[in-house]
């Protein structure tokens, strides 16, 4: 255990999935902010800093349990998971690979740089993840989870979810 590297920990974290969007790992999502490994008297300690996507995101507790399970599975006995609020999470931290996986899963990925403010009654130009049409309409800016909005495609007529830019 004395040769544990932060790189190894990151490899393990790649197996921890977002419980609400199970095709994404927490690394794809960009919520792991820091990993530190330290040795004291032959004991290996790992500290992992994670940041919530939304303040009330109920997945955060489940994600913390997922991290604990993964680290325990690799024999890590001394683990600290610390929340970090600032800088606040943005969809810009989602990896390109993560955006591709989202689209394949049927969720339109965030498509513009975060926080380019929209005016009232304006909505994003969002591509339908099924038929790639841009002829889509916002149904509601709030969806089944905090991070998603509801859209429908006017061409293939399918409803779909859009991971909001944030």
């Amino acid at each position: 255990m004395s040769t544990l590297t932060t790189e190894q920990v990151y490899n393990w974290l790649a197996d921890v999935k977002d419980p609400e969007v199970p095709v994404l790992s927490i690394l794809d999502l960009g919520i792991v902010r820091d990993v530190a490994v330290s040795e004291t008297d032959g004991q290996t300690s790992v500290t992992i800093k994670i940041t919530p996507t939304y303040s009330g995101c109920p997945a955060m507790d489940v994600i913390a349990i997922g991290i604990r399970m993964a680290m325990a599975g690799h024999g890590i006995q001394h683990l600290t998971i610390a929340p970090q609020l600032s800088p606040a999470w943005t969809t810009d931290w989602m990896t390109e690979d993560g955006k591709r996986k989202l689209k394949e899963y049927g969720i339109a990925p965030p498509n513009r740089k975060a926080f380019a403010a929209l005016g009232l009654f304006e909505s994003d130009d969002v591509e339908c993840p099924r038929c790639n049409s841009h002829n889509t309409a916002l149904v509601s800016q709030y969806g089944p989870t905090s991070c998603k909005a509801l859209y429908k495609c006017e061409d293939c007529k399918e409803p779909f979810e859009h991971f909001k830019c944030h």
Binding site: Y54, G56, S86, L120, S140, Q141
Partner: protein
């Protein structure tokens, strides 16, 4: 002065979150029902961060001072037994007079127009307030503000659109929207009237200047109401007291429901 200030922000968040959650299962259409549940969750998340911070501040106080902070019997019992407090104790074991939320957030939903009128007033306040609070010299508060601001931006957009949609809608929706704005108006003054702990925090650079927030808020409310063809109320008499623990009777009913499980089954866990 930081503890009462943090509790005030936390109490605003949990009480508006509770009010919005009352719409769950009762919204006019599914998408709007979901929208309010989402917003309620954002507020609850902010309340948790703030209560966790408040508990930390309390637990670090000198023992003698701790006994002076709360008058609620259930909390006093814990403190006298030498227990430290956590976020749940603060949310579930304080009585109404220890709550410091503004009166606006405890006002009942009544109907859709009242809900969006209260929403517009409070969301616009939150938007400008948290924008300023990101510059607080208190780094924990600044971080919570930074996180919340993104969510509040969505809330404000949602409530502004609804006030415009109803105000500039049919004769009936216009009349209902105007009435709701008129009746909620007297609860807006308290947002901008500082109490002692707010003034102390502001002087130390930890809290925003309410005069500036009021100007920004008034400008935004005027813009939205103009577009909604709503006449801004002329009334200048404003109800006060929430930030110092003097509440309308509505808060008692909210707490009865919100705190029921922990009061009847103390310390119960999922």
């Amino acid at each position: 002065m930081t503890l009462p200030y943090v509790l005030r922000l936390a109490d605003d968040a949990i009480i508006i979150g509770h009010r919005l959650s009352e719409w769950c299962g009762h919204g006019p259409i599914l998408e709007q029902d979901i929208a309010l549940s989402n917003a309620a969750l954002d507020h609850l998340g902010r309340a948790r961060s703030l209560y966790q911070y408040a508990a930390e501040l309390f637990n670090n106080m000198p023992e003698a001072e701790k006994k002076e902070v709360f008058t609620s019997v259930s909390l006093q019992n814990l403190v006298n037994a030498g227990s430290s407090l956590d976020e749940d104790n603060l949310a579930y074991l304080r009585d109404g007079w220890d709550f410091k939320n503004v009166l606006l957030v405890e006002q009942p939903n009544i109907d859709w127009a009242y809900t969006v009128a209260r929403g517009l007033f409070f969301d616009a306040f939150n938007y400008f307030y948290f924008s300023a609070l990101t510059k607080s010299t208190d780094t924990t508060l600044a971080a919570i503000a930074e996180k919340s601001l993104k969510e509040v931006t969505y809330h404000l957009r949602w409530s502004s659109e609804w006030v415009i949609r109803l105000g500039d809608g049919t004769d009936e929706s216009h009349a209902k929207m105007q009435k709701a704005i008129d009746e909620m108006w007297m609860y807006t003054g308290e947002l901008f009237t500082p109490v002692a702990y707010e003034t102390a925090m502001q002087q130390q650079g930890q809290a925003p200047d309410l005069k500036l927030i009021q100007q920004q808020w008034m400008e935004r409310i005027t813009t939205v109401c103009n577009e909604a063809t709503i006449t801004l109320p002329a009334g200048t008499w404003m109800q006060q007291g929430g930030k110092e623990g003097r509440h309308s009777e509505h808060l008692g009913y909210i707490l009865t429901e919100l705190q029921f499980m922990q009061r009847v089954y103390p310390g119960m866990a999922w």
